[in-house]
């Protein structure tokens, strides 16, 4: 069994002070089960402390470390070196930030700019139905009703789908923003339906989608994003 790999990372870098873009190559001896976040940390510790990149939970729950590796948007905490070698059939990896928001430095993008699209669909209950009776009662939602949209609530806003979605770059709010909207249309606790439908069906809404299903293909949470968008197109 191979225990270490000599890998080459070609990392797209950006220096905001000099407004300079360049690609830098790093040779790394990487253990077979190092994750890409570990490899980046190793570069910081041993070769180049200036390389900037982002992560937080590092186990696939927060969606901070998304980036493009050999063109595929993914969570770098979930990609092990040996799996990457296997999957891409190479030991050279080109690493770029997702292009869903402006870059700040190297692999770090201005995530809150990307989130503005999600904010626009109002990711909360606009007008909550009052709870059933007195103040000890919750709303009742049958498991079957919940099942219809629960998968859409699993989204962690990593923006991998937005990055893969060919139509999301300009006018489309993007697949994950659509998911957030669909959830509240289907949630029986939301009484405000008109504003919801306006967002889904306006000029930045679901009709911008070309049904390529790239979103479902790249989603690290394995959410069938395109299915929910198709539901919305059918009028839910």
């Amino acid at each position: 069994m191979i225990t270490t790999y000599q890998i080459t990372l070609k990392i797209h870098r950006y220096d905001p002070a000099l407004q300079k873009h360049w690609t830098q190559e790093y040779q790394v001896e990487a253990g077979r089960i190092m994750r890409f976040v570990d490899v980046l940390r190793k570069i910081n510790d041993e070769q180049d402390p200036t390389l900037a990149w982002g992560s937080s939970c590092e186990h696939g729950q927060c969606g901070t470390c998304s980036m493009k590796i050999n063109g595929k948007p993914l969570l770098s905490c979930e990609l092990l070196v040996e799996n990457a070698v296997d999957f891409f059939n190479t030991t050279t990896f080109e690493i770029e930030p997702l292009e869903v928001a402006p870059r700040i430095r190297d692999l770090i993008i201005d995530t809150e700019k990307a989130y503005e699209r999600v904010d626009r669909v109002k990711p909360y209950v606009i007008d909550p139905a009052p709870a059933d009776h007195d103040d000890v009662e919750e709303n009742q939602i049958s498991p079957e009703d919940l099942e219809r949209y629960v998968d859409a609530t699993r989204c962690i806003n990593c923006f991998c789908c937005s990055s893969a979605c060919i139509s999301s770059h300009r006018t489309f709010l993007g697949p994950n923003a659509m998911l957030a909207a669909v959830v509240r249309v289907m949630d029986p606790r939301e009484r405000e339906k008109q504003q919801r439908l306006d967002v889904l069906y306006n000029e930045n809404g679901v009709y911008r989608c070309h049904s390529s299903k790239a979103c479902s293909f790249v989603c690290p949470k394995e959410i069938d994003v395109a299915h929910f968008i198709a539901l919305a197109k059918e009028g839910l």
Binding site: T3, P16, A17, G31, R32, I33, M34, R35, D38, N44, D45, P49, A52, G54, S56, C57, E58, H59, G60, Q61, C62, T64, C77, E78, L80, N83, I104, R105, D106, I108, D110, T111, E112, Y115, K122, P123, Y124, V125, P128, A131, D135, V136, E137, E138, N139, Q140, I141, S142, P143, D145, L146, V150, T153, R154, I156, N157, R184, D187, R189, E190
Partner: protein, 598 residues
């Protein structure tokens, strides 16, 4: 360079939340519900509030449903008291347990996607240590959102604050607390995105900065949990409480530290050492793998200390094996599918055919910034610091004492978040409308020091040594000799750290500068933990001394540690509140000093 370090602007607000995890957002949402015109600012180190650590909490949220005939609030209070090894404060326990269900409804009514039972009501599960009738049998008390309860809380509370017009400043780090005459007036913030320092003046400042897990080498905590809150409080001359109370989970996946659930052992997983011997029978001949968490954790660490661990070459961490190969296919598929997928995803191992590496993983910090039951921060003499509050994992009110029950932490976030908000709103209504002027005193010197230092030491190497040291000497296995040597080493690391240099000169998104600052925080928190653990010559809850294995009544108090400068340790005490016991009502005898035996 020194010009770049000066304060660029001043922002005024009513409430400044340092943090945007579950505790901060619940608190912020309540303040805005009650005072819609208030200007509330929340800071995060991460790129967006949703990326905060609370989003990773899985299991659930304990709360007694008043409709449940089998359960009662007093049972939840008892379990928490017993679990804390009689070191939780009973006034806080009572307040939190009594308001729990109301807060569940707050979340439910605002759209959290709780898992449901057949009637469409909130499903409940059992959890270790939660019982009915004072320990008689386990009880269904934890509501949950599948295996992503923390994410459910975050999504809901973030949505509410967004709806009500909070201002988030992401990737913005509080680097100095502004204090004058025992009063807090806000803080200095490093806005990484612009590479600028700003001053935020607030009428109320609330610490909600989360845990400190990065102090240890193997941890379930996220990368940003470097104990900043505790370090900022210490450098302001304020104490931290019970820093030695740190919880470890026996089986973290090596190297990422990710939780491999207890279920692995209950379904028949066997722990093995380097020679592949099943070693648990040496430590717990009857219970073996099913012995309590802390005992299993210590057994694993002992094997490793005595040279029977295995070194993982990729992560440079020693570990033992958990063997699941003999379990029937059905168990793998039906009972432990998530954990199986974790091993697959993060270490590329198939537990059906391969041994899997585990080591106890740091999980939770019970200790923190001492507060009253309303989250007001206290000084060494338990006087309240005007304008300063703390809530969530960084705070110690104390709900968990020396050991936290599963599902009680995220409950604390939402209940204390609400209580702190109530108090802040009440105080704001009584005080003058303007925040007071305060000037910074030391962040600048510190930062320019970091940028000017030169030398050949590596930041990464020192951080690695610090974390390994804490895992080896100050984690589940503590002795006088081990901790004394750890303290000496920490002083040495603290000297070496001045020999590191920062290559990136531009301040914009300068991660080196931030990591350098974080390393100082890790060092300070590590030292506070080690000194407090050394002084407590007994075992209590998660604090286990190999040389003093019993709990002792003479230590029935909270430790207070102050450290105005690195190494200048001052120890103090706070009494444990036993008001439920003292009130003498029905069942009060259950709240006396009892044994923690299950």
């Amino acid at each position: 360079m020194s010009n770049a370090l000066s304060i660029r602007s001043t922002i005024h607000c009513d409430v400044l939340l340092i943090g945007a995890g579950g505790a901060a957002l619940r608190c912020g949402a309540e303040i805005l519900e009650q005072m819609p015109t208030a200007r509330v600012i929340a800071l995060t180190k991460v790129s967006h509030p949703q990326k905060s650590h609370t989003s990773t909490a899985q299991g659930g949220l304990a709360a007694v449903d008043p409709k449940d005939p089998m359960d009662a609030t007093i049972f939840h209070m008892f379990d928490t008291w017993k679990g804390s090894d009689c070191t939780a404060d009973q006034n806080v326990v009572k307040k939190i347990c009594e308001s729990a269900w109301e807060q569940i409804l707050w979340l439910e009514n605002r759209g959290m996607h709780f898992s449901r039972d057949q009637q469409g009501r909130l499903s409940k599960r059992t959890f270790g240590g939660h019982t009915r009738n004072f320990g008689e049998a386990s009880v269904y008390r934890a509501v949950f959102e599948a295996d992503r309860t923390g994410k459910g809380i975050m999504d809901t509370a973030w949505g509410e604050t967004l709806k009500r017009g909070i201002t988030f400043i992401n990737q913005a780090i509080a680097v100095e607390l502004l204090m004058e005459n025992g009063r807090c007036g806000g803080c200095v913030v490093f806005q990484q995105k612009d590479g600028e320092f700003v001053r935020i003046l607030a009428r109320a400042t609330v610490f909600a900065s989360g845990g400190s897990g990065q102090v240890f080498q193997v941890t379930t905590n996220c990368r940003q949990n470097t104990g900043d809150g505790l370090a900022l409080v210490l450098e302001s001359g304020l104490p931290v409480m019970d820093p030695e109370a740190v919880q470890f989970h026996p089986t973290g996946i090596v190297g990422p530290g990710i939780l491999a659930s207890e279920t692995l052992r209950s379904v028949g997983g066997i722990l093995r050492n380097q020679a592949q011997e099943p070693f648990m029978e040496k430590y717990a001949p009857k219970m073996k793998e099913l012995a309590p968490r802390d005992l299993v954790a210590r057994a694993i660490e002992t094997e490793i200390r005595e040279g029977r661990g295995i070194m993982n070459p990729d992560h440079n961490i020693e570990h033992v094996w958990i063997d699941l190969r003999h379990l029937p296919q059905e168990v793998h598929e039906k009972q432990i599918p998530e954990v199986t997928s974790f091993f697959k995803r993060y270490v590329n191992l198939d537990p059906r055919t391969q041994l899997c590496p585990v080591r106890p993983s740091n999980h939770y910090h019970m200790g923190g910034i001492p507060t009253t039951m309303y989250g007001e921060v206290q000084d060494k003499n338990q006087g309240v610091i005007e304008g300063l509050y703390a809530v969530g994992e960084c705070a110690a009110a104390s709900f968990h004492g020396f050991n936290r029950l599963g599902t009680n932490s995220i409950l604390e976030l939402i209940t204390m978040g609400k209580l702190v908000a109530d108090r802040v709103v009440e105080v704001l209504a009584q005080t003058p409308a303007a925040a007071s002027e305060m000037t910074s005193s030391h962040y600048r010197e510190k930062m320019s020091g970091y940028l000017e230092h030169g030398g050949s030491e590596s930041l990464g190497q020192i951080r690695f040594e610090l974390r390994a040291l804490m895992t080896e000497q100050v984690s589940v296995f503590r002795t006088k000799a081990g901790m004394t040597s750890a303290i000496t080493r920490l002083h040495e690391l603290n000297r070496r750290v001045t020999q590191t240099k920062i290559s990136c000169r531009d301040l914009k998104m300068n991660q080196e500068l931030v990591q350098r600052w974080e390393l100082d925080n890790l060092l300070a928190v590590a030292l506070a933990i080690a000194e407090a653990a050394l002084a407590r010559e007994e075992s209590r809850g998660a604090h286990f001394r190999d040389d003093f294995p019993e709990r002792k009544d003479e230590y029935n108090y909270h430790t207070l540690v102050s450290m105005d400068r690195f190494g200048e340790i001052e120890l103090g005490r706070r009494e444990v509140d036993m008001s439920v016991f003292e009130a003498g009502g029905e069942h009060h005898e259950q709240f006396s000093i009892i044994e923690r035996k299950y």
